[in-house]
């Protein structure tokens, strides 16, 4: 399955460590890459995050959105900073959502996926929800402009 990372329209080499299923990995914690089912509780990784450089989250179907929640908990609550990969039903129209939830690599064999990835972060120039991607929300930007207006009026 072709592997993509933001910044390149063409697939990158998939030559990193092979991810180990969570249950196996927890037994001997061998290697720095772990693969989760979307029903796994991500909290059990809390003590081990420093040992991990890749967490793979799975979409059994594109319409099964559980991994979005796993991703945000890992990034925002647990502070995971390594690579986070989406596998399974990964289609280009999900990319704006995936990026906002903290995914940064993607397995997909959809035609045009790489080109879509290049555009995905700017497809929508406005966001309403605060997430770990740090983009200022419409509400925050409005607040700033109101403060500027108020200062200018003084």
């Amino acid at each position: 399955m072709p592997l993509f990372r933001e910044g390149a329209a063409t697939p990158i080499a998939n030559d990193g460590p092979a991810p180990v299923p969570l249950a196996d990995w927890l037994q001997d914690r061998h290697g720095a890459a772990v693969a989760l089912a979307n029903t796994d509780d991500v909290n059990c990784l809390q003590p081990h995050l420093a040992d991990l450089s890749l967490i793979v989250l799975h979409f059994p179907k594109f319409s099964d959105g559980r991994a979005y929640s796993q991703a945000r908990i890992l990034r925002e609550r647990m502070g995971y900073g390594g690579e986070m990969r989406a596998t399974g039903g990964v289609l280009q129209d999900q990319l704006p959502f995936l990026l906002r939830c903290g995914f940064d690599s993607f397995e997909s064999d959809q035609k045009g996926f790489g080109e879509a990835l290049m555009r995905a972060r700017t497809l929508f120039s406005v966001v309403y929800q605060p997430t770990e991607d740090g983009r200022p929300t419409a509400s925050q930007l409005r607040l700033v402009s109101r403060r500027i207006m108020a200062t200018a009026a003084e």
């Binding site: 319409s63 959105g65 129209d93 959502f97 035609k111 406005v126 997430t131 419409a138 930007l141």
Partner: protein, 557 residues
């Protein structure tokens, strides 16, 4: 729209909707070019409100919290003329549906909506749907606070939410700001009810897990009192729990009501509160400044108290019996003296409930411009509302609505029927709903008789998905298919009034289509004979039980 007294888009909102139109245009192009399979395209078109129905595509247009400007309503008329067959159908979720859309024209129709700051985003699909509200919001005499401020905050937060766009199933939120709930908050995935506690603070009661459909349930209280500024954090926590634990193995068990039912409301509360602990002090907490900026958009129009007793109104009441009845049923108290809230009935005798032609939409827009600060509401009972009418203008408004065919004095009465589109349009339906509604409407058309019968809500669904809310009708009618024959199951005693919310009980065996009117007539006759002073149909039913109704119906049909 600087003159609007509700939220109007700023550049951020406008840009997002424009970018969404372009994204959808590209998706349609890829579908037509064969780059997307129908399977892959389906969720994309659905999150833009485009359904494939029996005869054509249907576009469901969001009308946030049921509030429209006259300019927006005129544009809807224009779109229905240009891209559809010159009429539209207002739904129980305060949306407008156009049932004859061509796929290749859908991006243009959606672009035309964006011209008046409207869209069809998330009117379908397993995401947070259009948030509904009391249709009398901002005008009702009994209101604590305008719920639309909070609906708008939810609208923005839920639009293209990165985490909650692929939930187990659709998610509907309703908000009310009045003790007399007109938004049916106990039959939504989440209902929010503004109320004032002993300390004088206004906050939300959070209700979870209500819903109709094939497994109707009354929502349960998740949080008695939530400070208003914590609304988004709490919603995000609740949605996350649902996204992670809601069932995905069975489409019919995927709504949050099933999760709440299976794990119990205590466990649900524990899970949500645990999530919420980690979120309540995050960027989701609403600053006073942010709330105030949204609230300013909803500043009420500058109504000055006026005389409540107007000679012309009093004279016309004596002269025109229908006008007198109309004042009783279609006109509600406004919070400013000398004003009223007028409901335009989209249920004239024999008409399909909720339908309006392009010309009728334009007519209502004209009336709103002249008499109601250019504002119109869509009610979940599929009528249109003029929220700010001066009492002295009531005769003129009545005459103007009468010309459009929208002055039927039947609001809350037996012919103010809620019905889903049914088998005439819908691919899911087992039976027709609209023709049944039309026959009942014709049978009980005499206004004096309707007013004698009094408040009686009939709700009709063409299948167990319950889009016509039959479970909460005083008389509920459900179309079922038995070996290719359309039959109708009747239930009694449903109610959405706050404090009385109840699901109806099935009366007995389903009746054939041609016997529905006789059955309803038998129910009404039973009530009229048994009623005590001041009792509505549903009150009599509660007092005497189902048996007398059952005996009469099955002796008749």
């Amino acid at each position: 729209m600087p003159d609007a007294h509700f939220y109007s888009y700023d550049d951020f909102d406008r840009r997002l909707v424009a970018e969404r139109v372009e994204q959808f245009r590209d998706q349609v192009r890829r579908r037509l070019a064969g780059e997307l399979t129908e399977d892959q395209f389906k969720p994309l078109r659905l999150t833009n409100g485009l359904y494939l129905q029996l005869h054509a595509y249907m576009l469901r247009i969001a009308i946030p919290y049921g509030t429209l400007s006259s300019r927006q309503l005129r544009k809807l008329a224009e779109i229905s003329r240009k891209y559809d067959r010159g009429y539209g159908h207002f739904t129980t979720r305060q949306n407008l549906q156009l049932h004859w859309i061509k796929l290749e024209q859908a991006p243009d129709a959606i672009a035309a909506l964006a011209e008046v700051d409207m869209h069809s985003i998330q009117t379908s699909g397993n995401c947070v749907r259009n948030t509904t509200a009391d249709h009398f919001a901002g005008a009702a005499a009994d209101e604590i606070e305008d719920p639309r401020v909070w609906c708008e905050i939810v609208r923005q937060w839920s639009t293209l939410h990165p985490e909650f766009s692929f939930l187990p199933r659709k998610f509907k939120i309703a908000i009310t700001g009045s003790p007399n709930d007109r938004a049916a908050v106990r039959v939504h995935d989440i209902g929010l009810r503004l109320w004032r506690n002993d300390r004088g603070e206004v906050g939300f009661e959070v209700i979870v897990g209500g819903g109709l459909g094939r497994t109707p349930m009354i929502g349960k209280t998740l949080r008695e009192f939530l400070p208003k500024d914590e609304m988004l954090a709490y919603l995000e926590a609740a949605l996350r729990v649902y996204n992670r634990y809601g069932r995905r193995d069975n489409l019919f068990k995927a709504r949050i009501k099933i999760l709440v039912h299976e794990i119990g409301v205590e466990k649900m509360r524990e899970e949500v509160e645990a999530e919420y602990e980690s979120m309540k002090d995050s960027a989701l907490k609403l600053s006073p400044d942010t709330i105030e900026a949204i609230a300013q958009h909803f500043a009420p129009p500058p109504l000055r108290p006026k005389r409540t007793l107007v000679p012309e109104v009093e004279a016309l009441k004596l002269e025109d019996r229908n006008f007198a009845l109309w004042l009783k049923s279609n006109v509600a108290p406004h919070r400013v003296a000398g004003h009223a809230i007028v409901t335009a009935s989209l249920k004239p005798a024999g008409a399909p409930p909720g339908d309006a032609s392009a010309a009728q939409m334009e007519g209502v827009a004209d009336i709103a411009d002249a008499y109601s600060y250019s504002e119109i509401r869509v009610s979940h009972e599929q009528n249109l509302v003029l929220p700010h009418v001066a009492v002295e203008d009531l005769p003129a408004v009545y005459r103007a609505l009468d010309k459009l065919g929208f002055a039927e004095a039947n609001i809350g009465k037996i012919t103010d029927i809620i019905a889903c589109p049914g088998l005439d349009y819908c691919a899911l339906a087992n039976a027709r709903s609209i023709p049944v509604a039309q026959r009942i409407s014709n049978h009980f058309a005499a206004l004096a008789r309707q007013h004698d019968i009094g408040d009686l809500k009939i709700k009709i669904s063409g299948c167990i998905n319950a889009c016509g809310h039959h479970h909460v009708g005083h008389i509920g009618i459900l179309g079922v298919d038995k070996n290719g024959v359309e039959l109708y199951q009747i239930s009694l005693g449903g109610d959405v009034d706050f404090g009385h919310t109840a699901l109806g009980t099935i009366l007995g065996p389903a009746v054939p289509a041609e016997k529905v009117v006789e059955a309803v007539d038998a129910l009404v006759t039973t009530y009229l004979e048994a009623r005590a002073e001041g009792e509505r149909f549903v009150d009599t039913y509660r007092r005497i039980g189902a048996q007398p109704f059952k005996d009469r119906v099955y002796a008749t049909v």
